[in-house]
Amino acid sequence: MSNLVYLAAAYAVAWLAICAYLFGIARRQRRLERELDRLQRTVEGKTQQGETVR
């Protein structure tokens, strides 16, 4: 019966690792999208002031 512990552990480890990885990617993506948004607003603000952005 205790063998089931190993079975459960093996599947738990696999899914936990994959989910943790996905979660890490998702968090990074959200952070980057926010950053991109902020930067694009900065660029727009600048062009409105009549500056050219190379």
């Binding site: 063998n3 990885y21 660029v43």
Partner: protein, 230 residues
């Protein structure tokens, strides 16, 4: 083009979810319980599947490394980097699952079996190649070196395996992989797991590469802004 990709992603994710659910059904319900090892044998399916994805990922990294050296397009470098990272994830999962299977069946956490040893050694190697990218240096050089390392690493896999197998046959192996008869239903479960994990690999690659591209865009924009600052 990137619009198309974003449209296709939910479809791929949905397909993957279906495949994963089916594989879980096949592994836990459809496949019969193995006579000698009992339920714990069900680790086998995901263990093999994650080992397969690890191998596939390093193969893809080698191929995209070759393509990078030929084309010098950063796109192929992002594929290499993502594939090595994901390959490392799945190889590690395979090692841990193997360990959790070996403990109840062979009464040991680890054996210096050729497959296990090769996987461990190559994991250490690929982890170092990822570390190398974090040490800084120009993006272009990192890409070039990353490509060469992924090619060299993959070519080396069979040689390491062969060497360790020869080494094991000379040292009498304490534990042998006791084969068990694979029933047709077990084969279905195995194939379902392989398919599900391959689909999972595609999904992970997709999102990982997209994040890498985003990262590139953001830092390009940031530098453009600082460069034009009066």
């Amino acid at each position: 083009m990137s619009q198309d990709q974003n449209d296709a992603l939910p479809l791929v994710v949905g397909l993957t979810a279906v495949l994963v659910l089916f594989s879980l059904y096949a592994v836990f319900i459809f496949a019969p319980t193995e006579r000698v090892m009992g339920h714990v044998q069900r680790i086998f399916y995901y263990h093999v599947a994650s080992a397969w994805v690890g191998f596939l990922a390093f193969l893809v990294a080698c191929a995209s490394g070759l393509l990078y050296l030929a084309k010098r397009s950063p796109r192929w470098d992002r594929v290499t980097a993502a594939s090595v990272e994901i390959g490392l994830l799945f190889s590690t999962i395979a090692l841990v699952e193997g360990s959790l299977w070996a403990r109840p069946v062979w009464n040991t956490w680890w054996t210096w079996d050729p497959r296990l040893t090769t996987t461990l050694v190559m994991c250490l190697y690929y982890a170092t190649t990822l570390m190398l990218r974090r040490l800084g240096g120009s993006e272009e050089r990192n890409a070039r070196v990353g490509a060469v390392l992924s090619i060299v690493g993959f070519v080396n896999v069979p040689i390491v395996f062969l060497a360790i197998r020869m080494w094991r046959t000379i040292h009498p192996a304490v534990l042998t992989t006791s084969g068990f008869a694979v029933a047709p239903r077990m084969l279905v479960a195995l194939l379902a797991s392989l398919l599900a994990f391959t689909a999972l690999y595609v999904c992970l690659m997709w999102t990982r590469i997209r994040v890498a591209r985003l990262e590139h865009d953001v830092s390009a924009l940031r530098h453009r802004i600082t460069a034009t600052r009066p």
